[in-house]
């Protein structure tokens, strides 16, 4: 039986699933309910000088009737006094000593101010500290959040200030709104961070009301850029996670688009020790963690992984420079005529959007199956000698398993672009 518990910077987390700093961790009551539901840890809604929020604060993008494919927010850090947040942290830790409570912190960029908040958070009983260098909206206009995280020198300096007094692990949370996140991650590492977490939300504007021209989320007809998150950002998070995993030696906490155990396992495979979740909990509530734990356990049991360490980072070496990929690897599309429904989406996608390697079915190429109307179903044909193996047809095909990409053995040894160009020069 696999064990989901994780040793994170010397701390034992019951499982790798933490709630990210955000609305779900705003109060002690929420955090305790989350722990009851099965979350291993919670990063408290960022503590600092209380702010005042706008109404409204969130905006979403739906896709084909699926709600909240992407979410953004212009909410700031906690609007509650520091003392109340800290008192609730103490209360939670007394009742849940085995769960991790991580205090997310954001204060003015003054050494003494950081020293003070770090001491107070630890005195309250926080197991670890997360430095919020990522908040992209509002706070950055006041010289905090992403304003720090976008400058490697500031990131390093403030991390080091926190480390000067911290007795518990310090996690620097990174913003994706930079040209190269690895510079920031390395700066945090230089500053002494025990871990980094990424990604914070991505700068975004959710849309425009075409009648009033008010952007979303609408605040009295106006809006401001906010942080984008939710299922849509996972690919961006995975890329940034893998690039950081290749460069830093300290543990990483994965964040971005995680809604189920598979998303979490992918983050772990790309190097994350623990993962943080926010949007999915905002959408469906704390109960989602049950299947995250259950599903990950089943996956690990099936693969005989005793702990997440057994597969953590396994995908990282497989993320390579393009120039290292094998140019002699060849796949082509195959259509299972028995499964084809005759929608012709692969045909039009390939014809207009890719490489013109699929033919319309000639009339005699029906597969002998008829729809209830008595019309024959025409199966498109892959022009195998033309197929470049791009995947597009398989991606657009609405029938699971109908179009598969099959390897063609070219008989050629693997050869990358780097090898090819070094040979010719």
């Amino acid at each position: 039986m696999s064990d989901l518990s994780v040793n994170f910077c010397g701390l034992r987390s019951p499982n790798p699933f933490w709630l990210a700093s955000g609305p779900p961790t705003n109060t002690g009551g929420q955090v305790m309910r989350a722990f009851d539901a099965g979350w291993g840890g919670a990063v408290w809604k960022t503590i600092g000088d209380p702010i005042q929020n706008t109404s409204s604060r969130y905006g979403a993008i739906d896709l084909n009737g699926v709600k909240m494919m992407g979410l953004n927010n212009i909410e700031l850090i906690s609007d509650r006094p520091i003392a109340i947040n800290l008192a609730e942290i103490s209360a939670v830790k007394k009742r849940y000593p085995k769960h991790l409570v991580i205090a997310s912190l954001m204060v003015e960029s003054k050494r003494e101010t950081w020293h003070d908040i770090v001491r107070r958070a630890e005195d309250a009983g926080s197991d670890a500290l997360e430095l919020n260098f990522g908040c992209p909206h509002g706070m950055s206009e006041r010289g905090m959040g992403a304003a720090v995280g976008q400058v490697p020198e500031y990131t390093e300096m403030i991390t080091s200030w926190a480390k000067e007094v911290a007795k518990t692990p310090v996690i620097s949370k990174l913003t994706p709104n930079v040209t190269d996140i690895t510079h920031i991650a390395l700066a945090a590492e230089r500053g002494g961070a025990d871990a980094v977490s990424l990604i914070n939300t991505i700068n975004s504007l959710m849309g425009v009301d075409l009648e009033t021209f008010a952007p979303r989320p609408n605040v009295a007809g106006k809006s401001s850029h906010g942080g984008y998150c939710g299922p849509a950002v996972k690919p961006i998070a995975l890329h940034l996670l893998s690039s950081v995993a290749k460069r830093v030696k300290i543990p990483i906490v994965g964040i971005g688009g995680i809604g189920d155990w598979k998303d979490a396992a992918e983050h772990i495979a790309l190097g994350a020790s623990c993962v943080q979740v926010c949007t999915a909990a905002m959408h469906y509530g704390f109960r989602i963690v049950e299947d995250m734990a259950d599903g990950l356990t089943a996956y690990m049991d099936d693969h005989a992984y005793r702990s997440t360490e057994s597969f953590r980072g396994r995908a990282v070496p497989n993320v390579m420079d393009w120039g290292d990929l094998d140019l002699n690897y060849k796949i082509i599309a195959k259509i299972d005529a028995g499964l084809c429904i005759g929608c012709q989406l692969c045909y039009v996608a390939c014809e207009d959007g890719a490489h013109q390697c699929i033919e319309r079915a000639p009339q005699h190429n029906a597969r002998g199956k008829q729809n209830p109307n008595g019309m024959e179903i025409h199966v498109p044909r892959i022009i195998e000698e033309e197929c470049v193996g791009c995947n597009l047809c398989a991606l657009v095909c609405p029938v699971h398993g109908c179009i598969t990409m099959e390897e063609i053995h070219t008989g050629l040894p693997p050869m990358s672009w780097k090898q090819k160009t070094s040979r010719t020069t």
Partner: protein, 457 residues
């Protein structure tokens, strides 16, 4: 008409409940969810299966993008009666029967309901999507105001023709107005579509019978071409004793009042027998039950598998509690002392070849001595409408086929070059959508024949 016993009157709200739309209008959310399911097939089988070739994926995509006016335009450009077709088309055997979702083992997209949803948007707002073409100086008369004529007239108006529809009925719309089950389409819905056509400048002369109120000679003098879209006539006779009794009516005679008169004013028998098992027979028996008839029999001389009604129509009748008498042939209708229908006597039959195929009809043999009687107060004939082409025989050159339908060329021109014809009077009785497709094709045929110059808009 006097009846031996009449069906009890129902509370007024019960009639409305009984004749409530079987497929109600979608809500915006339902439409959005359903439209999102559409795969947006390329060269889609649904569009190919539609006799009017509506670009189904295109209009559904436009619903997804909240472009309902554009969606309705796509539909109505291909089929000006897109609203009623969305409601009465046998979509299960047309567009929805061709939907690729069947192959995916999912429910086909509800194309008919989405179509109606989009067209309702423009009908509700009186949005006129089309304009009459610049006048080309030519005039076309259309006889009959059913789907074929409406489609033909609308198409001609768009091409710049002055069109006048002559119709013997009080209301335009033909079978759409008078002959389709009220729970599918009400007469007032048809009138909304008629207004779309009228909006293109088409003139309607109702209660005007060609041949009596206006002569063919007059039409030939006043118009450059004449289109015949008169549909079908009365239901054929049973050719059995008792057919002339009070209480024996044709299917159209039975259905028509349900379309144009308040339900509460209609008087029908307490027990009714309907002869025939086509879609019209289903309309009769379901209407009879919904009007309050206590016992409704459907009598058919062949077996269940040979009935020509669509499966879902049959289901409607089953749910309404209709009693089916398969392999039964009416022998005679019996009267009471007052001369009203009292019973129908039938004979059992046997199908000889035992073929279940609809196309290959089986031979029927009577089983001697198998007579049985059903007590009824009303008998409705629904064994198919007969062509009503006797009046066109007055026109020289128009050829009538053996089955009574009008013979036409590929462009729907009759033997007399000035006359074109389409719809049920040509095809012998098909769907509304077929009549529309033919009417539009006939419009193009007329335009090609007249070689009219295109005016400038």
């Amino acid at each position: 008409m006097t009846l031996r016993e009449t069906a009890p009157k129902l509370p007024p709200e019960q009639y409305e409940k009984n004749f409530a739309e079987i497929s109600p209008r979608m809500t915006p959310r339902q439409a959005a969810v359903e439209a999102a399911r559409c795969l947006f097939c390329f060269d889609a089988p649904c569009a190919m299966a539609c006799p009017t070739h509506i670009d189904v994926p295109s209009f559904i995509k436009k619903i997804s993008t909240d472009n309902l006016r554009g969606s309705a335009r796509v539909i109505l450009e291909a089929n000006i009666l897109g609203h009623s077709c969305g409601r009465v088309c046998p979509t299960e055997v047309l567009c929805e029967g061709a939907c690729v979702m069947h192959e995916k083992e999912e429910k086909p997209i509800e194309i008919g309901r989405l179509q109606r949803y989009a067209v309702d948007y423009v009908l509700d707002r009186n949005i006129q999507l089309f304009r009459a073409g610049a006048p080309n100086g030519k005039r076309v008369a259309l006889i009959g105001s059913g789907p074929a004529s409406l489609a033909c007239a609308a198409e001609l108006a768009k091409l710049g023709y002055r069109t006048t529809i002559f119709d013997r009925n009080g209301l335009p719309g033909g079978l759409d107005t008078y002959g389709i089950a009220a729970y599918k389409l009400r007469a007032q819905d048809t009138q909304r579509e008629v207004e779309l056509v009228r909006g293109l400048g088409v003139e309607f002369r109702q209660k005007t019978t060609v041949g009596t109120d206006v002569t063919f000679a007059q039409l030939e003098k006043d118009f450059d071409a004449i289109f015949i879209g008169v549909g079908l006539g009365d239901t054929g006779p049973l050719k059995i004793p008792g057919e002339d009794l009070q209480g024996v009516v044709g299917a159209m005679q039975f259905i028509e009042p349900t379309k144009v008169r308040p339900f509460a004013q209609l008087t029908i028998g307490r027990r009714i027998a309907c002869i025939g098992a086509g879609n019209t027979a289903i309309d009769v028996v379901t209407a009879a039950k919904r009007l309050g008839a206590e016992i409704v029999h459907l009598i058919y001389r062949r077996g269940e598998h040979e009935m020509s009604a669509f499966h879902y129509e049959y289901d409607l009748a089953k749910l309404d509690g209709v009693r089916f008498h398969w392999h039964a042939q009416p022998l005679r209708i019996l009267a009471d002392a007052a001369g009203n229908v009292a019973a129908i006597e039938c004979l059992r039959t046997r199908t000889e070849s035992g073929s279940d195929s609809k196309k290959k009809r089986s031979q029927i043999a009577i089983i001697a001595g198998s007579e049985f009687q059903l007590e009824v107060d009303m008998v409705v004939r629904a064994i198919g409408q007969e062509p009503v082409t006797s009046f066109v025989r007055a026109v020289q050159g128009i050829a009538v086929r053996e089955n009574g339908t009008i013979a036409v060329s590929e462009r729907f021109q009759t033997g007399n070059a000035k006359y074109f014809a389409a719809g049920d009077c040509v095809n012998g009785g098909k769907e509304v959508v077929d009549a529309v497709a033919e009417g539009m094709a006939a419009a193009r045929g007329i335009d090609a024949w007249l070689e009219s110059p295109r005016g400038k808009n």
